[in-house]
């Protein structure tokens, strides 16, 4: 039972662990480098896409100023301003759980509280069924509504896609709530 006996076996036992740790470290460092390189691009993409959505909702706006919203399910709130800086509309992005994950929608409210425009953002609902919520025949029903809690009685749900269309409705109500908070 001398030390000389255990030493080589200790090295042999440690070798797999050392190799694994080295592989993990190298992988971690390399990924860190790639992450640092790609993350800004990914964020810029997301930002650009969000700006395009907002611009499509309020085409006359010159700029969008972010507001804070604390309502659960509200992911973004912005004030759309004209060139002079006076508020044109409030844009709220809200989501609710649907059939295949979150169903996000973006709503533009006029300062006096009517829906100017609305759009369903990309979601994982069943293609050809749940994704119909993005169609004008469904989502268009919201345009012109007052910013107040809305029920399934005010909106025609899509038959066969009840969950998706109800999720969009719930997201709309969240947006209304968030609008009341930020206006």
């Amino acid at each position: 039972m001398s030390n000389a006996d255990t030493r080589p076996s200790l090295f042999e036992t440690m070798r797999p662990v050392v190799v694994l740790v080295v592989i993990c470290l190298v992988a971690g460092v390399l990924l860190g480098v790639v992450h640092a390189a790609t993350e800004p691009i990914a964020q810029a993409n997301a930002e650009k896409k969000a700006q395009q959505t907002y611009a499509a909702l309020v085409p006359t706006a010159a700029s969008f100023a972010p507001l804070t919203c604390n309502v659960e399910g509200c992911t973004a709130a912005l004030e759309a301003r004209d060139a002079a800086g006076s508020p044109l509309a409030y844009v709220i992005v809200a989501q609710s759980k649907g059939y295949g994950g979150q169903v996000p929608i973006a709503v533009a409210f006029s300062p006096d509280g009517t829906v100017l425009s609305i759009t369903a953002m990309s979601n994982d609902e069943t293609p050809g069924l749940g994704t119909k919520i993005a169609n004008e025949s469904y989502i268009g029903q919201y345009v012109g509504l007052a910013a107040q809690p809305t029920t399934a009685d005010d909106i025609d749900l899509i038959s066969g896609a009840t969950i998706s269309s109800k999720a969009a409705l719930a997201a709309f109500n969240t947006a209304v709530e968030a609008f009341e908070e930020v206006r």
Partner: protein, 274 residues
């Protein structure tokens, strides 16, 4: 059923290595590997192509790295090491897709990170890349990856045309044909895959359709990945693929030894007490 490894050494040309994965050993239709993404992301052709390309990239890169490191990695920890290498490349793909193809990132969602546990990738690392040179490993990965992509495209074409009436987003069915939504629903996924595999078997068995490439092809392997311990497709899928993993054996031996030691100590204690 053909012995894949014997086949590989028999026609040891690089072209053969590449071509094998496309048809004869097509991972999806022949080896029944990677069925989860096969069923899940094939609701649209673009998703199928994206998934296939991402998997091919991971297969080629991890194959090359595993092949280069095959003499460095001790056999006992090879599976965790392979998993780490594969997971790194999957993470790399996720970052690249997120940065340069955000739409695909949204469409594939959770199934992109799940390439890590795609049986095909770990299976090829263990069965091929860890035993061959980097060039061969790369070609094998490319062949298997493209074979998988081809299967994904076949499956997603059927599902998109029948289920949404479109192909690559362009309407192909005449307007009076109502798309069969069931095809893009989960149930349709299982059914379409069942019919595609049955179709490939039928073409192969039917004398009139017998083709010289297909004749060499094997029937879908009955031993599914789940039949093998630790990971799917590891070992030789043509026979008892399920050779017990050495790492597990080592750990089990260690546990057994510890248990015996404890028992011995307990017995010694009891004897002393007595």
């Amino acid at each position: 059923m053909a012995q894949p490894t014997a086949n590989a050494t028999g026609e040891s040309t690089l072209v053969g290595t590449f071509r094998r994965g496309l048809l004869e050993e097509n991972p999806a239709f022949r080896q029944m590997l990677g069925l989860c993404p096969m069923l899940a992301v094939t609701t649209a052709v673009t998703n199928g192509v994206g998934m296939g390309m991402a998997t091919t990239f991971v297969l080629v890169c991890s194959g090359v790295v595993v092949s280069l490191l095959r003499r460095v990695i001790p056999r006992t920890v090879r599976i965790p090491a392979f998993i780490t290498i594969i997971a790194s490349f999957v993470t790399l793909v996720m970052m690249l897709v997120k940065a340069y193809m955000p739409a695909l990132d949204e469409a594939l969602g959770i199934y992109l990170p799940l390439i890590v546990v795609n049986c095909i990738v770990l299976g090829r690392a263990e069965m091929f890349a860890s035993k061959h040179g980097p060039l061969e490993a790369a070609l094998d990965g490319a062949g298997m990856g493209l074979g998988f992509t081809f299967a994904l495209i076949a499956m997603s074409s059927v599902r998109e045309i029948l289920g949404a009436g479109t192909f690559l987003g362009v309407r192909v069915l005449p307007p009076f044909v109502e798309p069969m939504i069931i095809m893009v629903m989960p149930a349709g996924g299982f059914a379409v895959l069942g019919f595609l595999i049955a179709g490939s078997v039928w073409i192969e068995e039917h004398p009139r359709h017998r083709h010289k490439v297909l004749r060499k092809a094997s029937k879908p392997s009955p031993s599914l990945c789940a039949a093998c311990p630790i990971n799917c497709g590891v070992g030789d899928p043509s026979n008892e693929a399920c050779v017990k993993d050495e790492f597990v054996e080592m750990l089990e031996a260690a546990v057994e030894a510890a248990r015996k030691k404890d028992e011995a100590a307990q017995n010694a204690d009891e004897e002393r007490d007595a």
